[in-house]
Symmetry: C2
Subunit: 516 residues, 2 copies
């Protein structure tokens, strides 16, 4: 997720039901895990603060390697055989792999998290808040949070405090809850019956460019019946959720060409074609003023939600009103369409648009070109290449001559409507795991065992991850189990995790390790 959602103070009532009793065995494991945690909180906090102190941005490769080694050491300290899985290119951050194999186990579950973080601009952080000096704060910066200045190592930690720092939520929290959930479980003497594997990636925030290669070179390690992705956020109500899919994603750049040089808007206005108008007219032909996509067949290949997915969606406490208030959105893009309905459909978004200049530096010119960046999200049934082809066909139907490079002089002089279309490499399809599959049921049951309200089952997030790649390469089912608070400013300044969510996440992971 590339953008922080700041300031979302959502006071939505949680839904509690008496019809989802925890089993007494699960409750017993949870109570033991909690007791272990309460007894070892200070060591866990100490270790996590050290982990967060190691920088983890993409271009700091020595530090990324230190993170990987730190994780391997944490695995070994918990009695797990651990090793680094190098990428095929020197210098690329390795994955960290560990496994606990149980003789006689018939099923293997792999737990995934990532240790790298988004870039940071320390100047954008609140005064005294630093990306790689983790501290306790009383609340998010934008809601007046202050640093708990008198806390010292060994002091008790208020679970309502937050820990600040890059990666504190996304996704060192995944690593932390997996490893401490494991430590607690081992500490209680409970023993998983399945094979457990652990896989921690160091390039997720860069788009996982070498994940496929690492998986391909380590097929035995990557093999599992189920990958559990411990990443992402709990529902904004604070409730735990299980996420069964992601949308696919592909980006397309458009460049419409005008005259060869910038022209004086007085001397040539009304005569020389303006590429900004051409782009504007083209884009307007793609989506009407009610937000409906006008590209032929855009939704035609969508596989509609299954009955199980529909039921799950209907059971999710709606967030639309809360988001609308927090974000100051008077009405949704397509009136009457809910946030979750939108997740079940492909999207067409303008990420950006640009031609010449605006504001004080605008000049009276006919620009030479006009550009737009489009983002296409995909759902099951869509194919990235096919979806792009629909857009290209639409552009051609509007009279444009399409190129995949800059035009020659002759082409500029020949075609009144000339466009360059750049399909950004790395597009991929959606991934969805059936809600009624055995793996899905087992994961929901495990998470459910830790809470007394119905766990939210989200058929797909609106966002995207290349989980399709994992599914294709390993054949495993892939399900995400987020652990952190929603308002964590991930990817932005002042990233933070609420301590209580780390403790709850440990219990979630411990329950998942005990799946039958």
């Amino acid at each position: 997720m590339r953008i922080a959602i700041v300031g979302l103070l959502l006071a939505l009532t949680s839904v509690r039901g008496a019809d989802t009793p925890q089993t007494s065995r699960a409750r017993s494991v949870q109570q033991q895990v909690r007791a272990y945690r309460e007894a070892h909180e200070r060591e866990m906090i100490d270790e996590y603060l050290k982990f967060l102190s190691i920088p983890n941005t993409a271009f700091d490769r020595p530090s990324l390697l230190r993170n990987a080694q730190f994780i391997a050491d944490m695995l070994r300290a918990r009695g797990v055989a651990a090793r680094l899985l190098p990428a095929p290119i020197a210098g690329v951050p390795p994955a960290v792999y560990g496994e606990i194999l149980n003789p006689g186990a018939t099923r293997t579950i792999l737990f995934y998290a990532h240790y790298d973080g988004q870039p940071v601009n320390p100047a954008q952080w609140a005064p005294g808040w630093e990306p790689f000096r983790p501290q306790f704060v009383t609340a998010p910066a934008e809601r007046g949070g202050t640093i708990v200045a008198d806390w010292k190592p060994g002091d008790a930690v208020n679970p309502q405090w937050r820990i600040t720092g890059r990666g504190s939520a996304d996704d060192k929290a995944g690593v932390m809850t997996i490893l401490n959930g494991l430590a607690a479980l081992i500490g209680t003497g409970a023993r998983p019956t399945v094979n457990l594997k652990f896989f921690f990636e160091g390039e997720e925030e860069s788009g996982s460019p070498h994940l496929g290669a690492i998986l391909g070179a380590n097929r035995a390690a990557a093999a599992a019946d189920l990958w559990v992705i411990v990443d992402g956020q709990c529902h904004f109500s604070g409730q735990k959720q299980v996420v069964f899919g992601v949308r696919g994603d592909v980006n397309v750049g458009l460049t419409v060409y005008g005259p060869r040089v910038p022209l004086h808007s007085g001397h040539f206005g009304n005569w020389a074609p303006n590429p900004a108008w051409r782009l504007v007219n083209l884009l307007a032909s793609m989506k009407d003023e009610h937000g409906r996509v006008l590209i032929e067949g855009f939704d035609a290949d969508v596989i509609p939600p299954t009955d199980a997915e529909r039921r799950a969606l209907a059971a999710i406490p709606p967030a639309d009103a809360g988001f609308a208030a927090a974000l100051e959105i008077p009405e949704p893009e397509v009136p009457g369409r809910s946030l979750l309905e939108g997740y079940m459909l492909p999207s067409l978004n303008i990420n950006g648009i640009q031609s010449a200049n605006v504001g004080p530096i605008a000049a009276n010119v006919i620009p030479v070109s006009a550009k737009a960046a489009l983002d296409l999200r995909l759902v099951p049934g869509n194919d990235a290449q096919r979806q792009v082809e629909k857009v290209v066909a639409h552009i051609k139907s509007q009279g444009f001559h399409v190129l995949d490079r800059d035009p020659t002089d002759e082409e500029r002089a020949t075609y009144p409507r000339l466009i360059r279309i750049d399909v950004v490499p790395g597009g991929y399809n959606a991934q969805r795991t059936a809600l009624d599959s055995p793996a899905a049921r087992a994961v929901v049951e495990a998470v459910q065992s830790t809470v007394d309200y119905p766990v939210i089952r989200l058929p797909s997030t609106g966002g995207s991850l290349p989980l399709f790649v994992i599914q294709q390469q390993t054949g495993a089912a892939v399900i995400s189990v987020p652990v952190v608070n929603y308002d964590n400013n991930q990817h932005g300044e002042n990233e933070n995790v609420k301590v209580q969510f780390l403790w709850d996440g440990m219990e979630t992971c411990a329950a998942l390790f005990m799946m039958p």
Copy 2:
């Protein structure tokens, strides 16, 4: 004119007619002026190179003052009483004023040029070409011109060479041709019968912000029957032209608002409204894909060209094909509409458009806002304020709530379509002088006396100057007589003037001084 038109090599046949004989008296004056010039060419060149060596960009006020003093000295050297007309604010470049009053004269003609130049970025100039070190070059830089390195002061000058430097064409050439036309006329012993006034401005390239105040404080000096603006370019065929008007101009900035913070295009795409789509749909509602403006009443108050203007337009050698080839324009914005037809109509141009980012730095976001800069050119009948009101009314008709400032949180939460409209201060109306007025006839006759082809009479250029202000403040007729070559790169790098155009411009000015 804010943008250089580079590389326009237009080989258009000049139109010559036998029906426009020069009078023998005029021919005699012209021959004497030419003989004087040939005898004094080296001093004139020497003086012009010194003039061009004084920097004249807007923020170098000490140098602008030196320019003004240099001009005053040149006037005095020609026997003209000269003085500086200070602006009401200290430090603002003064105008330079001079006059030759003839006892018994019943008419007064004021000659205007400006001595300030556009900003320069020396790094963009060709190697060895410098904004304030004038040199002779063999051709424009973009057509392979080279510096005439062995030329020394006192050497003969090839009239096909060009002089490079900021202001060499725009508009120190106006000052130069006025003053040397005058020197030559005085040298020949000819004597104007009208009062002559000279007014040289130092803030034209900054939009003449204090011109009105200087005129208001010097009403007697500014008073004239006719202002002749010696600025702008000859027809691209090289032929002399007289220009009777300019379009008005007003700029409008638009900002459409989206959610309060940038949103993840996956998690909120299909639900949160995207301001870039809203702006695109709004702009597309203003102009159709054939370039026709859809705003109600946009052309309704246009005063159509007079019969005289129509005839003059019909007589102008069309440049459309030449421009289309040079600029690689396959067809005009409105198919079938010529360049000159367009000059007679108001225009609606997108100067620029911007929302978030495009290209490699595009992120998968729903942007917080989308901006456009519009340029509205005006013709007689249009009023700047009224034209803007039509645009605002159109925007309201598309469901937008209009503000002249950023929205409050409450407004953002209330209005689904929210726009800020900024009308850029300084807009002004068109100016046009009737082609069949006595002043117009006299000017054309004077210019015609210097050439044996029919002088081009352009009812209006497509560009804009605040000549409306001069007309309003002084009551004078205002007519422009350009002197320099079209391909002069004015406002851009490598500005230049072809020497022959300086010599021809002197003859034009001398003929104008002798108007009855």
